[in-house]
């Protein structure tokens, strides 16, 4: 156990985490330089072929230190986005230490800070690493100051490195061995392990990633997950060393995987405790939470016969994504589909992307919604995340919506722009403080619904990429919501309805109508697009009809050329939905969700 170090790299997106991980693999005794590229890529290709995400880069690095001893450095991967704070916290709970990676030219960002706090909550030893020191724009002194002033860490402990150039990696590996504590725990005590991730292997079922705090696990053991008391027989345990390397046992302090005939990853929950059925530990590890979706959207197949394929794809995706929840939904305009819950907008985008890319589906997503609490006149409460279920407004006493506490870190020259953005989004400025003489942390309370729409993109735009953002959900507050409907040639398209704040309804209506006008192809008749609240039309746009749609001539005897064009158009049409007589392309449904200025 003395020769084990468990650590994570915490970093803002793009600060070089992946590059550093790769460099570790190269600098340790894992593979020779010559084989490096091939081996890594091979594994990834296999993963791609099998449709597994390359999300888990957790790896056990054998490293011979200057003291001549060989250490197992377990690098535990953490997802890098605000949607996955809980998953990050479970990964950190599996570590004794963390590398805090800071880009030498970008400096400390909100996410760095948020993750640092998280690491501190878990009492991790932290090694600050200033990365990308080779860049011309690197400003090491400034980052040193930030480490001291923003983070309250000793800048002298920081290691300067360039993962890209391989600079400082040897120093870093040595300090992991020297400065991070080894794990402790009794290998003879009852089994206690923490699940921090899992993925699905089509041949072996769920591969559970875990950290053992006490006890020893071996194939043949009957294990139990303490959150749901599910029992499985262990088939294999082992270490991640690019490929899975089976072991006879794993014991306290080690990080590895287990395979136990678990059908779906939903049966394993991030943060759950593993113990032995017949010899359980006294209590589960603290901090377990069920993943709670906060953003909801309906997903429909574009193809009218695509429901079966979508069902299969979601089932398969769910194998690998425990946070995804869904239930059957239906729409007059779009037919059968699924109402899905996501951890955040990024999670939604990841799921959409995977369904389309890995399962070759064309999808229509409805406007993402948060979960509203609606108090009816009779005092009863409804929880609504789907505009289709919005009750008759006259029966509503009041509506409540979720609020977040958002921490935004930004150079102070963007303070005005950020203030305007947040106030436009119904934000309340709670606090701001200078972290250094020109960097500022601004704290807002904001309705979650305003953030899921396009907030992050906007923030990036108004701060020219310098603003960073982190959030927590805090409470529900009373609000004034209306249901905005979209009518196409007088017909309400239910899949385009959105719940929006009263004050923003007209603007959203105009935005949606404009977007639809730009995306719906001209047809042989005029198409009227209207935004409506109740019976009142708040926005209107028109798609003018074709006046002609004919090719002047065949191209000599080249019939193929025109036929291919027709086949392409026909294929495009399969990605359209008929609403009454009007064909609406998939892109039109998606465009309504996008910002107005790109």
């Amino acid at each position: 156990m003395k020769n084990i170090r468990n650590f994570s790299i915490i970093a803002h997106i793009d600060h070089g985490k992946s590059t550093l991980s790769d460099r570790f693999i190269q600098f340790t005794d894992m593979v020779s330089d010559r084989d490096f590229k091939d081996q890594i890529l091979d594994t990834m290709d296999i993963e791609r072929e099998r449709g597994i995400t390359i999300k888990s880069q957790t790896i056990c690095l054998p490293y011979t230190a200057k003291d001549g001893m060989t250490y197992h450095l377990n690098l535990i991967d953490t997802p890098g986005h605000v949607d996955f704070t809980y998953e990050v916290s479970r990964a950190l709970a599996s570590c004794e230490g963390a590398l805090l990676l800071i880009d030498a030219s970008q400096g400390v960002e909100a996410q760095t800070l948020a993750n640092l706090y998280l690491a501190m909550e878990h009492n991790l030893n932290i090694i600050p690493v200033i990365n990308k020191i080779d860049l011309p724009s690197a400003d090491v002194d400034r980052v040193m100051t930030q480490i001291e002033e923003d983070l309250g860490l000793d800048p002298d402990t920081a290691i300067q490195a360039s993962a890209k150039e391989g600079l400082g990696i040897d120093v870093l590996l040595e300090s992991i061995v020297q400065k991070l504590p080894h794990p402790t725990g009794d290998a003879e005590a009852p089994l206690k392990g923490l699940i921090f991730d899992s993925h699905y292997d089509p041949f072996r079922g769920t591969i559970v990633h875990f950290r053992l705090f006490q006890g020893t696990i071996r194939p043949g053991d009957r294990i139990k997950f303490m959150s749901n008391n599910a029992v499985y027989k262990v088939e294999e345990v082992g270490l991640f060393q690019i490929v899975r390397v089976p072991q006879k046992t794993l014991s306290a302090g080690q990080v590895g995987y287990l395979i136990a005939g678990i059908k779906t990853v939903s049966d394993t929950r991030c943060g759950d405790t593993i113990t032995l059925r017949d010899h359980p530990c006294d209590a589960a590890l603290p901090g377990f939470k069920e993943a709670k979706p906060v953003v909801f959207s309906s997903i429909y197949p574009v193809a009218s016969d695509g429901y079966g394929d979508l069902t299969t794809a979601l089932e398969k995706l769910k194998l690998n994504d425990a946070a995804l929840i869904y239930e059957k939904d239906s729409s007059v305009a779009l037919g059968f589909g699924f109402r899905c819950g996501f951890l955040g907008l990024l999670h939604l985008e990841v799921v959409q992307e995977r369904l389309e890319r890995e399962y070759d589906l064309s999808l229509i997503l409805t406007a993402p919604s948060v979960r509203y609490i609606i108090v009816l006149n009779d005092g009863s409460e409804l929880i609504i995340d789907n505009p289709a279920l919005y009750p008759d407004p006259t029966t509503i006493e009041k509506t409540k919506e979720p609020f977040i506490r958002a921490s935004i870190m930004v150079p102070d020259r963007y303070m005005g722009a950020v203030m305007k953005l947040c106030l436009d989004r119904r934000g309340i400025n709670k606090n701001y403080q200078y972290l250094t003489n020109n960097r500022l942390e601004m704290v807002f309370e904001l309705p979650l619904s305003e953030v899921i729409y396009d907030f992050y993109d906007k923030l990036k735009t108004v701060t020219q990429g310098y603003g960073s953002f982190d959030y927590d959900i805090i409470d529900y507050r009373e609000t004034r919501m209306v249901k905005l409907d979209i009518l196409i040639n007088g017909e309400r398209v239910d899949a385009l309805s959105q719940l929006v704040h009263r004050d923003r309804a007209e603007e959203r209506g105009r935005h949606a109508c404009t977007r639809l006008r730009d995306e719906i192809p001209r047809q042989m008749f005029k198409i009227a697009i209207q935004g409506a609240i109740g019976g009142k039309i708040v926005a209107r746009k028109t798609v003018s009809p074709f006046r002609k749609d004919v090719t002047a001539k065949c191209y000599g005897g080249d019939i193929t050329r025109k036929r291919k064009l027709l086949e392409k158009q026909k294929k495009g049409k399969k990605r359209m939905k008929m609403v009454g007589k009007v064909m609406i392309p998939q892109s039109a449904f998606l465009s309504v969700l996008k910002t107005d200025d790109n």
């Binding site: 001539k553 005897g557 019939i559």
Partner: protein
């Protein structure tokens, strides 16, 4: 035989009456027109090597079983070939292909390239139909299109063609040109009608990718004509030519009707729309032999190189699937005013036409876009303007 076959060839002539059409692509021009995206070169020194290769290609594709009743010289500008070159090609065609005695032999000419002598010679060696690329009788428009000739050239060549003995003269005109108002176009049509051509092709200007016109549009050198205006011109064309005694037999093609029955349709072009087999010779030319479509390389160098090795210069071929054949049958059938021969269609594809298309056709009929009777399904005059949208609604 002087008159082109005015009778209506049945659709999908292929199986029962496999008379071929032969198309010869002459890939040379004095200058490339701004709108043209056919394959052509302006280096005229390459003409003779090309002709040599073409003769080889003809020798390779020849087959005694194939009887051809059309031969069509297109381009490019076939009339940039010397008299001797044309004669050699004609001789080779007569020697190697079984041309029917009444074969329609057409050559496209650019008014800027021919003399009375040249036209006389064409007629002498057996070319019996001439298609003149007039495009417009307006100076400004000809300049915009990048044509090498003036309106005067065009009128002169039409008269010279008559003098040379051509009694089957076709004129090509283009409309929908930026800045062209309705009266300019009417003037073009009326000028053309003065010469009582047997055939008129009236094409809507289309701006193809990669052409000079395309670049000009992208650099905002002009605004394309508004759709509604083009639609108006299309309807004007239909009306004026109908009044002048022409039948529209395809979206862009009109034939003079003589004595109330004989119509001077282009027999060759009808093959493209009626699934008759045709052989395309020359670089970039397309051939069809049901269910096979294939086409030559679009490069004189590669073309000649293949033939030098005794190989056909085919770039690619495709065997059309039934579904693709249906798409083509609908697309091509609806381009013609005779429309789709329903009985033939049903027999060929084993499809109950009414059951398959009835609902869509009913809607289209109510919108005055198609006419359907027991034997044929065709677009109305209005429907032709929306040919593309309508075909999209019907194809599998």
């Amino acid at each position: 035989m002087k008159i082109s076959d005015g009778g209506k060839p049945s659709l999908f002539e292929t199986a029962s009456n496999p008379k071929h059409g032969i198309y010869v692509h002459i890939p040379f021009c004095q200058r490339k027109c701004a709108y043209c995206d056919f394959y052509s070169l302006t280096d005229l020194t390459l003409r003779q090597p090309f002709v040599d290769s073409l003769l080889q290609e003809m020798a390779l594709v020849t087959s005694d079983e194939v009887r051809s009743d059309t031969l069509y010289f297109g381009g490019g500008t076939p009339s940039v070939l010397t008299q001797q070159q044309i004669e050699t090609i004609m001789q080779q065609a007569k020697d190697l292909f079984t041309l029917t005695p009444d074969a329609e032999i057409t050559m496209e000419v650019n008014p800027g390239t021919v003399t009375q002598d040249y036209l006389n010679f064409m007629r002498q060696i057996g070319i019996n139909r001439i298609n003149i690329g007039v495009q417009s009788f307006s100076h400004n428009i000809l300049e915009f299109l990048g044509r090498i000739h003036s309106p005067g050239h065009a009128t002169q060549v039409i008269q010279q063609a008559r003098k040379a003995g051509f009694d089957n003269v076709g004129l090509d005109l283009i409309f929908g040109i930026p800045g062209q108002d309705a009266s300019t176009w009417q003037d073009d049509l009326k000028t053309a009608l003065v010469f009582a051509p047997e055939h008129l092709s009236c094409y809507i200007l289309s701006i193809e990718n990669g052409t000079h016109l395309d670049q000009m549009r992208k650099s905002k050198a002009f605004e394309p004509a508004p759709e509604q205006h083009i639609a108006d011109l299309f309807c004007i064309t239909q009306q004026i030519l109908k009044d002048a005694g022409y039948e529209q037999y395809e979206i862009s093609n009109y034939a003079r009707i003589d004595n109330g029955e004989k119509a001077w349709r282009s027999r060759h072009n009808q093959k493209y729309w009626s699934f008759a087999p045709y052989t395309g010779l020359g670089p970039g030319a397309h051939s069809y032999r049901a269910p096979l479509r294939y086409w030559n390389v679009r490069d004189v160098g590669l073309y000649s190189a293949a033939l030098a090795k005794g190989r056909l210069p085919i770039q690619e071929s495709e065997k059309t699937t039934t579904e693709q054949q249906i798409t083509e049958a609908i697309y091509l059938g609806l381009r013609t005013c005779d429309g789709i021969d329903i009985a033939h269609f049903e027999k060929l594809f084993q499809i109950d036409f009414n059951q398959q298309y009835g609902d869509t056709l009913k809607t289209l009929y109510e919108e005055n876009l198609v006419i359907v009777d027991n034997s044929r399904c065709a677009l109305t005059s209005k429907g032709m303007l929306f040919h593309n949208s309508i075909v999209e609604r019907l194809i599998p």
